[in-house]
């Protein structure tokens, strides 16, 4: 099962890297979204896969009696989901504003901050 999930994570990463190498912002953002999901799956996989056994300690004992699901990766993923979701929301708005202001979603044409053919600095005093 780990191998299958590892392959799936690899596929997610491959897809997202392919999309992020595009010059169009919207594809890059889809790549970022997929990357976030791939990372979540990676944390889940590396936190040891078990069947659905909740980590509940039965009455009278101090430790769980069987190997239970690891709750920590789920807490980590929850944090990562919240963060990546809010960042994606921000980036979507920013990308839309960029499209409105600059009239393009092609990163090669976005040269406002770094203009083409900028003059060289003075070379003489």
């Amino acid at each position: 099962m780990e191998i299958l999930l590892a392959l799936l994570v690899g596929a997610y990463f491959g897809v997202s890297v392919y999309l992020m190498m595009s010059r169009y912002i919207i594809r890059i953002l889809i790549g970022v979204a997929i990357l976030g999901n791939g990372v979540n799956l990676l944390i889940f996989t590396s936190g040891r896969l078990t069947r659905e056994k909740p980590p509940i300690i039965p009455e009278g004992s101090m430790v769980p009696e069987v190997i239970t699901a690891n709750p920590l990766p789920q807490a980590l993923i929850l944090t990562a989901i919240v963060i990546s979701f809010s960042f994606l929301a921000f980036l979507l708005v920013l990308a839309f504003r960029t499209y409105q202001e600059l009239g393009t979603d092609n990163t090669i044409e976005m040269r406002v901050a770094e203009p083409d053919n900028e003059a060289f600095p003075p070379v003489s005093y």
Partner: protein, 557 residues
């Protein structure tokens, strides 16, 4: 007995029983103060006039706490506090050693200077849009990163820092800002995601997130553990945050677009947090991965220094020149990490301190010049700075000397230490590049000073004539501009003429990184003490039991 209310649980097995001391609270006080001040200002968003006062007072408080913390760490070694009384490694620990405390204190001082200066640079609209709350929350992220002892928590602080920096960089919403912010946002988000990937894999291998615990467990791993992969991922992630070549392109694309105070605080702090995280993970936690990556790091460090200084030489926009110098500084810090000996790491820490102070001061000083010349920022259009303010041109010249690594200012000592360490380990080329980058920096910045301050007017006008006289600053504005710049310059001079205390702190920091026994003891000391006590109690109990058993036997007889 099972399930009965009398079933007693021994809490000392899972929780820290000793109450938190005031010195424990000192560790997390910068985070508490900044986050409270930030949320207070968000609530008072209808009254932006009060923001500057709240921000300045709380930053002053943070600086006081951080200086106390630094003193405590220097005297008593690393300090640790674990949240929620859970025993480490299960609770989230905040652990601070000399490097973390030193960088936190310096960044607090810089942020305080920026708070004072920004009352001049940020207008009413900027305040209403939330400049000060974002600045406070940025400082929460920065201080949290320097103080935390948990690697996932470090990731969370990185994200806190990142989201507040997004708010700051687009403040105003000009075209160039949005363009720069988009590139900044996407590439930085990618870097933190790589950091998360590495952390997920590391958790899979060692099963813990506490840095001290990882440092202990990594040294016991079998050789087939994929530590080289994890180390390389951390290196790429933090190199991207720190803007090292070849993942530096977001920095010159974005750092010149926001207000000059925002650029100042970004240039001073954000990339240095990346370097801090790199040192923390690769030097302290994963030293073997650092050894494996050492050759690559030497190349990356050299290339970063050259790209930064050559980029600075080729720019006409003075703000972008400074952006490239930030990159060149990152290269010098990476050189220390690449060499990896005790003195080299000490050089990196010293350079980080110097770079935080000098880059922020340079941006602020340029901000005043741009303000006086009516918003011009091209080197070919600037001139006449000396005539308008000789004090500013003097301060700027000191900072130019410092950033180029010339004595007797702060930049000299870190470079001296790094060159000595590089020669000692036989890195001849790296030594050459460190020295050449210093020379190129002094050419680039000397030109900025000569053209924008010394020359009477912009290029093209006759020298000695005041072609377009600059407008001087008026009384109140003058104080708010010059107090922070002068204060930072005083630190730069002090670090140059009295380097001994800084050397001591950096040395303690590098020692604690290379042999983290004191660091792990600070985290686990309380646990060990409690376990020993528990064990003692148990043996006493069982001894008591056997005694009473014997007595009973005696009675029977």
């Amino acid at each position: 007995m099972a399930g009965s209310p009398s079933h007693s649980v021994d809490l000392s097995q899972a929780m820290i029983m000793a109450p938190s001391t005031p010195s424990d609270w000192l560790i997390i006080s910068p985070i508490i103060i900044t986050i409270l001040a930030g949320s207070l200002m968000v609530m008072l968003r209808a009254r932006p006039a009060s923001h500057a006062y709240i921000a300045t007072i709380s930053m002053a408080l943070v600086v006081a706490c951080e200086l106390l913390l630094l003193q405590n760490v220097l005297q008593n070694g690393p300090q640790s506090m674990t949240m929620g009384r859970w025993m480490p490694p299960f609770g989230i620990s905040f652990t601070v050693d000399a490097m973390g405390a030193l960088l936190a204190a310096i960044s607090g001082i810089v942020a305080l200077a920026v708070c004072i200066y920004s009352s001049l640079d940020i207008n009413q609209t900027g305040r209403r849009l939330g400049f000060y709350p974002f600045l406070m929350l940025l400082m929460t992220g920065v201080s949290g990163s320097f103080l935390t002892g948990d690697i996932f928590n470090l990731y969370v602080w990185f994200e806190v820092m990142l989201i507040s920096s997004f708010g700051l960089i687009i403040l105003g919403g000009e075209k160039a800002q949005i363009d720069g912010a988009l590139k900044y946002a996407i590439l930085n988000l990618m870097a933190t995601t790589l950091f998360l990937v590495a952390t997920g894999l590391l958790y899979g291998v060692v099963g813990t997130l506490n840095m001290a615990d990882i440092a202990l467990k990594v040294r016991l791993l079998p050789p087939e553990a994929p530590m080289a992969t994890i180390g390389a991922l951390y290196f790429v992630a933090f190199a991207m945050k720190a803007a090292a070549f070849p993942v530096n392109f977001w920095l010159p694309a974005s750092y010149h677009t926001p207000r000059i105070v925002v650029s100042a605080v970004f240039a001073g702090l954000l990339t240095k947090v990346g370097v801090y995280a790199l040192i923390r993970t690769l030097v302290m936690i994963l030293p073997e991965s650092r050894d494996q990556l050492s050759d690559i790091m030497v190349v990356v460090a050299g290339a970063t220094m050259l790209v930064g200084t050559l980029g600075a030489l080729a720019q006409n926009d003075v703000r972008r020149i400074l952006g490239y110098l930030v990159i060149a500084g990152i290269g010098s810090m990476l050189a220390g990490v690449a060499i990896g000996t005790g003195p080299a790491i000490m050089g990196s820490i010293l350079y980080a301190v110097h770079s935080i102070l000098v880059m922020t001061a340079l941006y602020l000083a340029l901000g005043v010049l741009i303000r006086m010349s009516g918003g011009k920022y091209k080197l070919s259009e600037l001139g006449g700075g000396y005539k308008a303010s000789s004090l500013l041109s003097l301060l700027f010249l000191i900072l130019v000397f410092a950033v180029s690594g010339l004595p007797p200012f702060s930049g000299f000592w870190p470079k001296f230490v790094l060159v000595e360490a590089a020669l000692g380990e036989g890195h001849t080329w790296l030594t050459v590049i460190i020295l050449v980058s210093g020379l190129l920096t002094s050419i680039a910045m000397g030109r900025v000073w000569a053209h924008s301050f010394w020359r009477g007017g912009p290029i093209g006008t006759e020298d000695g004539r005041d072609a377009a006289p600059l407008t001087g600053l008026v009384g109140t504005v003058r104080a708010r501009a010059f107090i922070p710049i002068s204060a930072l310059t005083v630190f730069v001079v002090l670090m140059g003429v009295m380097p001994t205390p800084f050397f001591g702190m950096a040395q303690q920091g590098s020692y604690s990184l290379l042999s983290p026994q004191a660091y792990t003891k600070a985290v686990f000391g309380e646990v060990i003490r409690q376990k020993q006590e528990h064990h003692k109690k148990r043996t006493e109990e069982s001894e008591g039991k056997t005694m009473s058993d014997k007595k009973e036997e005696g009675n029977h007889q």
